[in-house]
């Protein structure tokens, strides 16, 4: 059983003349421990696809299965529970909660994943230390650089040991050096812990590190290459 199985997914925004066909029948399987990039020009439907796989949205047609479960059959709170426990998100704009410290941001994710209170804080601190932020646990997001914020986001995504981490253009708002550092961090986590990563990007640095590159054009998959 694939970790992710998308069959003929269709997503249309709007209706009639104004309808935007963001996805026109996309099928893709993702296996555990993959490090896969979805590439394609802006507007090709990358974010839409990741949002479907991340259970933030449901398709208008076709099916999306996560660990064998069809998301179309799930209600809002089951989808929320699935996201909380099984999926980690890394966003282009970091999306940390501004009123929480680095540690609290990470802890919120772990708490929502259902981890017991005992040892939770320590585990979050360890994860932040593992991404190189051991000394900045009590900083608020606005006291951190973009690269540091994205590391917090990586820690927040990884701390609950999810089945899948979805990263939508994670380096787009970072300078080249911090972008590379964050990417290497994720590559290490993939190699060391077997965490499954699914990216969208048009950053060549990300593509260089990918083991599989799926190309999306106008809402359709036009290439799917594995590298060694």
């Amino acid at each position: 059983m694939s970790l992710v199985s998308v069959v003929n997914a269709v997503k249309t925004y709007g209706t009639g003349e104004a309808a935007v066909h963001a996805l026109r029948g996309v099928s893709i399987e993702i296996e555990p421990a993959e490090f896969t990039v979805i590439s394609g020009p802006s507007g090709s439907g990358k974010s839409t696809l990741l949002n479907l796989i991340g259970c933030l949205d449901v398709p208008d047609g076709g099916t999306v299965r996560i660990e064998g479960r069809d998301v179309n059959g799930l209600d809002g709170s089951s989808l929320a529970a699935l996201r909380a426990a099984r999926i980690g998100f890394i966003f282009q704009s970091f999306n940390l909660i501004p009123v929480l410290t680095a540690l609290e941001n990470v802890e919120l994710a772990l708490q929502l994943a259902g981890a017991p209170a005992a040892g939770r804080r320590e585990k979050c601190a360890e994860t932040l230390t593992a991404v190189g932020l051991g000394g900045l646990l009590d900083r608020r997001p606005n006291q951190l650089s973009g690269g540091q914020q994205q590391r917090v986001a990586v820690a927040r995504a990884l701390v609950k040991q999810p089945a899948l981490v979805i990263a939508d253009e994670p380096t787009a708002n970072l300078d080249s050096t911090s972008g590379t550092a964050v990417l290497d961090l994720m590559r290490d986590m993939n190699a060391a812990r077997g965490v499954t990563f699914l990216f969208s990007t048009h950053d060549p640095k990300v593509m260089e590190r990918a083991r599989r590159v799926v190309t999306l054009t106008d809402g359709q998959i036009t290439a799917d290459e594995f590298r060694t």
Binding site: L56, D57, F89, I97, V99, R156
Partner: protein, 402 residues
């Protein structure tokens, strides 16, 4: 964590939070203040009547006039002895004999209300706590009379002077006596200060030539709430009627209930404003924090969690504002409950016929204050439901990229 998020979110735009709070503070503050003062005024008005002229139960001739300066002596009765089975609920009782007389001092004369009282029992039913007596309170006919301060002023009479009192006797003849002024009293009760000449019962009965007869018989109960039951069980002597403090203060209390309605209207307006303020604040927060809401949803927040977060923020704003308002309003009410407000100046200014006692003690009622706090909080909570609902309806996929 939800609570921590809510607290931090409130602190994030302190100016806006404080503004929304202020309206709740005002609403709840005015509610607590208003209830304290109106409750106090109500009690004050009751005391003004009970402590000076009616007691809790009052016996008087049937059909006795209650308006204006009228005290007929046609239907006087003998001071009754209370039946033994009612005695247990009675704290004290005292007779009075009221009649109209003409007081003359040299060239000055005026119509007055003569009050004959029982020297032993009167103070056990009627309060003398606010009395300021210059001279002495007469204990018998030999001591003379006690002038209300306003009467003394009008007659230009002082302690030690001699005045003439002229009255119609029970039989209809005119009787006049030369009497010594034993003292001048300021009680704070206008009907005494402005119009009364008080004297021992024997002196009063001598003037109207009515041995042993009285016009009023007042009873003070241990518990004034027993008054209605007491009157029902008491067979009043023939030719008399028994009335309760409740009936005697009804007209006054009607004014208070109008005040209460006005207060409720004002509070409703203030709390309506604060509800609108809070709803607006939460709605603005919801729109400002779209991306955060999306992120929380991605992390596993359900719609219900988002709703709860925003309602919690509104409720906390309401609770803090309500507590502050209650503390401010309650502080003032509690203070004046302890020390009271001296209204004697006001009574003198209005010269008059307002039924108010000299000291106003505000009504300090912790349940009322707690109720106001709960009320303010619930209103804030309800006000935030709609904006919280708006936040909870956002589609997470769109919200995360906002």
């Amino acid at each position: 964590m939800m609570l921590r998020l809510a607290v931090r979110n409130l602190l994030r735009n302190t100016r806006r939070t404080v503004l929304s709070l202020a309206a709740v503070v005002a609403g709840v503050g005015v509610l607590v203040l208003g209830q304290g003062f109106i409750g106090g005024m109500e009690e004050n008005a009751i005391r003004a009547v009970v402590d000076t002229s009616t007691g809790h139960v009052l016996l008087r001739p049937a059909g006795y006039p209650t308006e204006g300066l009228q005290h007929p002596v046609d239907d006087l009765f003998q001071s009754p002895v209370l039946p033994a089975e009612l005695a247990a609920s009675v704290e004290a009782s005292a007779p009075r004999l009221l009649f109209i007389a003409r007081a003359i001092h040299g060239p000055d004369a005026m119509r007055i209300r003569a009050i004959g009282f029982d020297p032993e029992r009167d103070a056990t039913v009627f309060s003398r706590g606010t009395w300021h007596v210059d001279g002495a309170t007469p204990k018998s006919a030999a001591d003379g009379v006690l002038l209300g301060a306003g009467v003394a002023r009008n007659l230009r009479a002082k302690t030690g002077d001699t005045i003439v009192l002229q009255a119609r006797t029970r039989a209809g003849a005119i009787n006049a006596l030369e009497l010594k002024v034993a003292g001048v009293v300021a009680t704070g009760a206008p009907f005494i200060d402005q119009t009364a000449v008080m004297m021992a019962m024997d002196q009063a009965q001598t003037l109207v030539i009515a041995d042993g007869a009285v016009s009023h018989f007042a009873v003070r109960l241990h518990d004034r709430d027993d008054a209605t039951a007491f009157v029902q069980r008491w067979t009043a002597p023939a030719g008399t009627e028994a009335t309760t403090w409740i009936a005697e203060t009804a007209a006054v209390l009607r004014i208070q209930s109008i005040r209460r309605a006005a207060l409720n209207l004002l509070v409703a307006a203030l709390l309506g404003m604060s509800a609108a303020g809070i709803a607006n604040t939460i709605l603005m927060a919801a729109y400002e924090r779209v991306r955060e809401v999306g992120t929380l949803r991605a992390l596993g927040f359900t719609r219900r969690d988002v709703l709860a977060l925003f309602v919690l923020e509104g409720a906390m704003m309401g609770a803090i504002g309500a507590l502050l308002g209650a503390a401010l309003g309650g502080g003032v009410v509690y203070h004046y409950h302890q020390v009271g407000i001296d209204l004697s100046g006001l009574i003198e200014q209005t010269g008059g016929n307002l039924p108010i006692a000299a000291m106003l003690y505000t009504d300090w009622s912790p349940p009322t204050v707690a109720g106001a706090v709960a009320f303010g909080t619930v209103i804030a909570m309800l006000a935030s439901v709609y904006p919280a609902h708006v936040a909870s309806r956002m589609v997470p996929a769109d919200a995360v990229r906002a």
